[in-house]
């Protein structure tokens, strides 16, 4: 049930989704991997939209070089852990939701436990090795992975639904080389909004997801394109011969 306060807070979107939709958002728990360029806008808009529980995980502290894009953090947060800064801002934005801010590294051994019982994972990471780990967790738990990534004025996003779409490793089997990527804040802002839009549609069961579609954004040309993506039967992660955690457990 929504409180009177919540009915007021979400009045304008209840016009869109109805009280039932708003309650669905309230019941939901979303895992946000990273509180940086993508994680900032993603967390802010999921918070103000009323997604009931947000888990934000990051192990970094705020650096002044983050501030051109990581809009959860302000100049006075320099040196402060990103999750502490994130918690403070998100609770101020919406005290009617629960923020779980966890100072941790997303690794092979920790990811599944960190994700816990979340209804979906938003990929706000900056490297593929950690993305592949979350991809596997999403497959094992049967929950969606809302992928986003950016560089400069370019971005990409897609929604991975286990069993219905390719997994991240089907689409990007090999990580691009690591680099200190150039970026201006508007690009993660924009791709983060595409991800949040996907999360909301998924939770509300409305619209068409970016499933089996890779959204590509070219900010220089002001142009969005999409490309069909397909499952790779030989995928090392989700393919027919792949050894997944779930499969191994079943055998054992």
């Amino acid at each position: 049930m929504l409180s009177e306060r919540e009915r007021e807070r979400y009045q304008r979107q209840i016009l869109l989704f109805g009280e039932e939709g708003q309650e669905r958002l309230k019941e939901a728990e979303i895992f946000i991997a990273g509180a940086g360029g993508l994680g900032s806008p993603v967390a802010i808009y999921l918070a103000v939209g009323g997604v009931g529980t947000l888990t934000v995980v990051d192990s970094d502290a705020v650096d002044r070089t983050n501030l051109n894009r990581q809009v959860l953090h302000t100049d006075r947060d320099t040196g402060v852990k990103k999750v502490a800064s994130a918690r403070e801002k998100l609770e101020a934005l919406n005290p009617d939701i629960t923020i779980r801010a966890i100072d941790a590294h997303i690794g092979e051994g920790t990811a599944a436990k960190l994700v816990g019982r979340a209804d979906g994972i938003v990929d706000c990471l900056d490297n593929y090795p950690a993305r592949y780990i979350l991809n596997r967790v999403a497959l094992d738990k049967g929950i969606p992975l809302f992928h986003g990534a950016i560089r400069g004025m370019y971005g990409q996003a897609t929604t991975i639904i286990p069993g219905k779409t390719p997994c991240l490793a089907c689409i990007f089997p090999k990580a691009p080389p690591e680099e200190e990527f150039p970026v201006v804040g508007v690009t993660p802002g924009l791709i983060g909004m595409v991800q949040v839009n996907e999360v909301l549609k998924y939770l509300l069961g409305t619209g068409d997801l970016l499933a089996n579609r890779l959204f590509l954004w070219d900010g220089l040309q002001g142009q969005a394109t999409e490309i069909c993506v397909e499952r790779n039967p030989a995928c090392a992660t989700c393919g027919d011969g792949a050894e997944r955690g779930r499969v191994k457990r079943r055998k054992g």
Binding site: G34, G36, G37, L38, G39, D123, C124, L125, D126, N127, Y128, G148, A149, I150, R151, G152, Y154, G155, Q156, I171, F172, K174, A175, P176, P177, E178, E179, F181, V183, P188, L216, D218, L220, Q221, T225, I227, C228, V229, E230, N232
Partner: protein, 92 residues
């Protein structure tokens, strides 16, 4: 015979947004992209490694379907093909 080759992200900066190529019949995907990037040192080197093979993270699509880099030499271009070549971006 015409084929439309589109580049994305960093490749677009180096090689332009799209090239309308006129390959001869029997031209492979690999040959077409080599031809299109020839003469653009930085662009070519972003797409291909020192041995002339596609860099392993490069995504290749033909008419919305993925082409594996290992098959690109045997995959023939057909008239009207839409080719996309791009690197995944990784920042967050």
């Amino acid at each position: 015979m015409k084929a439309r080759v589109r580049f994305f992200a960093r490749f677009r900066e180096l090689l332009g947004a799209e090239v309308i190529a006129e390959p001869a019949p029997g031209t492979s995907f690999l040959t077409l992209i080599r031809d299109v990037t020839r003469g653009n040192g930085e662009g070519h080197d972003a797409v291909f490694d020192e041995g002339g093979a596609f860099r392993e993270h490069v995504i290749l699509m033909r008419n919305g379907k993925r082409i594996e880099a290992t098959d690109a030499g045997e995959t023939m271009i057909a008239d009207g093909d839409e080719i996309a070549v791009f690197p995944p971006v990784s920042g967050g």
